[in-house]
Structure formats: C-alpha cells, structure tokens
C-alpha cells in the first residue's frame, strides 16, 4: 500500500469489501431520525448531526483508520437543509456515492442539493402541509374538541415518518441517477399543485381565522318628525360592501409590510400586538362574539 495522501483518502476498494448490509443502512437512518439537528449551531448548522448519522456507513466502508478519520472530517463540513423533505434524501444518496467510492461527488452533491431541497422541503412541510393540518386542529381545539390536538399529532406521527423513510430508501437505491430524476417535470408539477392547494386554502383560512370586527356606530340621520332612529353599526355597513373585509385588509397590510419593506416577522407581531391592545382596549374593535362557522 502506498503512503501518499491521495491513496489514503480513498476508501477500501469496492471489490475488497462486502456490500453495505441492511443493518448498517438502518443504523444510519435511525441516527438521523432521532437526533439530526440536536447539535445545530450557527457555524456549521447540521454538520455534526449529518456526520454522526453517516458514521456507521463510513466505518463499514473504511477499514483503514486514517481514511475513516478523513471521511468523518469531510462530513463535518457546513450542512443545512430541510430535515423532513431533503435531509433523508441527501443522506441516502450520499451513502450510495460513498459506497460507490466517489467521495468528491458525494461532497459535491451535498452542497448542490441542500439549498434547493431546503426550499422545496420547507415550502411543502411548513407552508402547505402544516398550515392546513394545524389550522384545522387549532380550530377544533378552540371549540373545546380534544380531537384537534390528537388529529394533528397523528397527522405528524405517521406521514412524517413515512416520508423520511421512503426518501432515504429511494435516494439510496437511485444513487447517482438521482439528479436526473429530480430534474424531471413530474416533481415540478407536484410542487405547482401544492402551491395552488396552499393558496386556495389560505384564501378561505384568512377570513375564518383572523377575527376582528368594529364596534363603532353612529346615529342615523334624524328624519322629519324629529324621531331619533336606532344607531347604525359600521360593521353592518362593511359587511354589505364585502364580508370579512377587516380580516382581509389587516392580513394584506401585514403582507405588504413583510413583502415590500422586508419587515422582520417579530416586528410585525409587535406592531399587531400594539394595534390590538390599543384598539381593543379603547373598545373600538373587538373579537366577534358569534363565530359563523
């Protein structure tokens, strides 16, 4: 065996070692599953979590201690992606590439895929899926129905596990063919569909969940005869223009602040907190008493 650095960096050649057994793959997946982000930090984010998850595979592939240590150091490089859709995918395909003996393509693939998959993964899990199940669950819970939190817990427990397990297995099997698969139009169509679902749902959820009505009223014009008519509530006038106008306007206002002025969401919360406390405290606006649905 040669002593050059290049030689040491290579794993044990494929023909000299047995194929990656199922148990090693499973160990890697479960390490990922139970602890992927627990060592998250500003400097290298999910690096230690990824490295720890792939160690069983590296140990199996590298009989030589020196090349094993080098492989571990490679996987301590900066890494950050979506833990639900994205992380298992990249872990599975990285294992396939490490097994194929191409450390360079494994590292390159990690860097190339973590950004795009983070975008897709966060959009699918947080923006579309979570916003639907958590709004439904919270709405039931507010009506005193315990099914709300139970529904959410089950809708997380089962699909979140399955989607991670499936991705990991799929990505490992596909290995290097993965990127061509991702580039196909099917995935893009799927994303478009989810975006549309998200927008339709938001269109209905915004007026139903954001709750504000005005309690302001004015006295009607005195008609001939001097009799004072009953006061006219401003809210009834607004409802004639457009139902749920105030919740829609309020959300549009915050959206405008976030989008155009790139306002930090924390400040948006502080602003709404101040608005709500002032207008509610003065008694001009209130949470509607009767809930329509």
């Amino acid at each position: 065996m040669s002593d050059t650095i290049e030689r040491v960096a290579e794993p044990t050649p494929a023909e000299e070692r047995p194929a990656l057994p199922r148990s090693v793959l499973n160990r890697s997946f479960w390490r990922f599953f139970w602890s992927f982000q627990i060592s998250w930090n500003y400097e290298r984010m999910q690096a230690l979590g990824f490295c720890w998850a792939i160690i069983p595979v590296l140990r199996h592939l590298h009989r030589d201690d020196k090349s094993f240590a080098e492989a571990m150091q490679r996987h301590l490089a900066f890494f950050n992606t979506s833990p639900i859709i994205g992380g298992p995918f990249i872990l599975g395909s990285t294992i396939a590439m490490e097994e194929g003996g191409s450390a360079v393509s494994a590292d390159g693939m990690k860097v190339a895929m973590m950004g795009p998959l983070a975008g897709i993964g966060d959009a699918l899990t947080f923006v579309v899926y979570n916003s639907i199940i958590f709004t439904l669950g919270a709405n039931w819970a507010l009506n005193g129905q315990i099914i709300g939190p139970i529904f959410v817990a089950i809708m997380v427990l089962v699909p979140y596990y399955l989607v991670r397990r499936w991705q990991f297995n799929f990505a490992y099997k596909q290995g290097k063919n993965l990127i061509t698969h991702l580039a196909s139009g099917a995935l893009q169509r799927f994303n478009e569909g989810l975006i549309i679902l998200g927008l339709i749902v938001l269109g209905g959820f915004i007026p139903s969940i954001v709750k504000i009505v005005t309690t302001l009223h004015y006295s009607g014009k005195a008609v001939a005869g001097g009799k004072q008519p009953p006061p006219v509530t401003v809210q009834s006038q607004i409802d004639q223009v457009l139902p749920f106008l105030l919740p829609v306007l309020l959300t549009a206002f915050i959206y405008f602040l976030l989008k155009r002025f790139r306002l930090n969401p924390i400040w948006a919360i502080v602003i709404l907190f101040a608005i709500g406390l002032t207008l509610g405290g003065l008694g001009w606006f209130a949470k509607p008493v009767a809930i329509t649905h």
Binding site: I38, P149, L197, L202, S208, I209, Y255, P265, G276
Partner: protein, 274 residues
C-alpha cells in the same frame, strides 16, 4: 408546585428535542405543547385553548435556515401554567394565558440565539475528535450539544412556573381594557402567520386561487376541512390540464440557508413571476 415546575420543565425540553430530532408529534408547536402542559397541570381544556390561540398566532412562523423566531412553544407552556394559577372563570384564565404567553414568546426570542451559538464550541471539539477517529467522543459531543438548546428554555420555564403564585396577586389589578385588548390581540395575530405564508407563495402569479378559497368560505359557508378538500381537487385538475412552465420555481428557502425566510422567499417569488 415544585413537582409541577419540574415536570413542565422536562416537557419544555422534550418539545425542543422533538423539534430538532424525531418530530414525532411536533411537540414544539404551541397546540401540542399547550395541550400536554394542560394535561400536566390537570386542566386540558385550558391548555388546549391557550395552545390553540398561540398556534394560530404562530402559523407560518417557522425557523427557516436558523433564524430566531418567537418561542411560542415555551410561551404556551408558561402561559397555560400561569393561567391555571389565576382565579376567575375560563374566559378570564384564557386571557391571562394569552396575555402571558405572547409577551413571553417574544421575550424568549432573545435567548434562542444563545442556544444556537453555544454548540459552536462543541463542533470545534468534534473536529479534533474526528481527526483522531474517536467516534465515541463524537457521539457524546453530538448529544451534549443539545444542552444549551434545552437550557435556554428550561430555566425560564422553571422559574416562571415555580413563582407562578405572583400571578394571583398581580391579576387583581388587571384592568378591563387590558383584558379586552389581549382578547383582540389573540384574535388578530394569525394575520402575521398568514402573511408570512403568503410571502412564501407566488401570490402575483396565482392570486386568483386565493379568491376561490375566499368565496367558498365567505359566501358559501364551506367549512375549513371542506375548503382543504376542494383545494386538493382543484390542484389535481390544474396540474393535470396545464403543461409545466419552464420558469416555475418553488418558493421558500434558497441557497444561503441562514437568510430570514421572507427575504429569500420573496426574491424567489419575484423571480418566478417574471
């Protein structure tokens, strides 16, 4: 009180563990965190109501690439415990819970960066361990790096719950205007979450999809679940009939993962609308 404080502190630690690790039941979401906190103190309905209110306020508020967000999780736990410590009817307790939970969530935003920063020291130790091939040390480092994450949530939770008796004395002086104001705050805060979600979606391209949902709810009185199911059908029809546009990109977090969500996302959204 000591036992309750300890159990709730452990629950707060589990919530952040579940978020970073297995995501079994998404315990870090206020709906789950609050409901279980209610179970622990023996008032599930209260915990569920506080959690659900904060959940709606936290919709769309997620950590995108490591940005600090209001800690509604701990807010829901502390809010539930302190609401329970107060007297009065359910509506009054709920107001106390929201009135404490939301400010607590905002204040705890300041502690989150500490929990995210301290494990940096661990990663440098991990570098050294990796060079010498010490896998056992790497394992220990990986799991102990969770301690700062847990600590910045455990300490405030324990202190707030343990000294929750203070609420009973303070609440006698809470004026009516504050109660009314907090009720409205709880009802309008979901606007932030929905607005956040909208910034992550290509609104300029598909704004008319919002109208479908709006009309279903406002004019046709369809329930939330009904709107979601209708949306699934429309989405399937849409992608089946429409050829995919080559310029279409998925919104959300783009390559540099430590950018605040709305910034990168809106840039992406703009790009996809060209």
């Amino acid at each position: 009180m000591l036992l309750t404080a300890i159990v709730l502190t452990l629950w707060a630690c589990f919530c952040i563990y579940d978020n970073l690790g297995p995501t079994l039941i998404y315990a870090s979401r206020p709906l789950i965190a609050g409901t279980v906190a209610g179970l622990i103190i023996g008032d599930v309905t209260l915990g569920m109501a506080v959690g659900a209110t904060l959940e709606l306020a936290a919709l769309g508020i997620y950590t995108y690439g490591g940005a600090s967000i209001p800690d509604y999780t701990t807010g829901a736990i502390v809010g539930t415990a302190l609401a329970h410590a107060s007297s009065g009817d359910f509506a009054h307790q709920l107001t106390i819970g929201i009135g404490i939970g939301i400010p607590a969530a905002l204040l705890l935003t300041a502690l989150d960066p500490i929990g995210r920063f301290l494990p940096t020291f661990w990663i440098h130790r991990a570098d050294i361990a990796a060079v010498s091939g010490k896998t056992r040390e790497l394992t220990v480092l990986h799991w102990t790096a969770f301690i700062p994450w847990a600590a910045v949530r455990a300490v405030p939770t324990f202190l707030a719950v343990y000294y929750s008796g203070v609420v009973a004395t303070v609440e006698k002086h809470i004026p009516t205007w504050f109660t009314n104001g907090m009720t409205l705050v709880g009802a309008i805060l979901p606007a932030v979450g929905f607005a956040m979600l909208l910034t992550l979606l290509p609104v300029a391209r598909y704004w008319y999809m919002l109208l479908i949902g709006y009309v279903l709810f406002a004019y046709m009185n369809v329930s939330l679940l009904g709107i979601a199911l209708f949306g699934v059908a429309i989405a399937i029809i849409f992608v089946t009939l429409r050829p995919p546009t080559p310029s279409a990109t998925v919104p959300g977090r783009a390559a540099p993962p430590n950018e605040p969500a709305n910034q990168t996302a809106s840039q992406e959204g703009d790009a996809s609308n060209v």
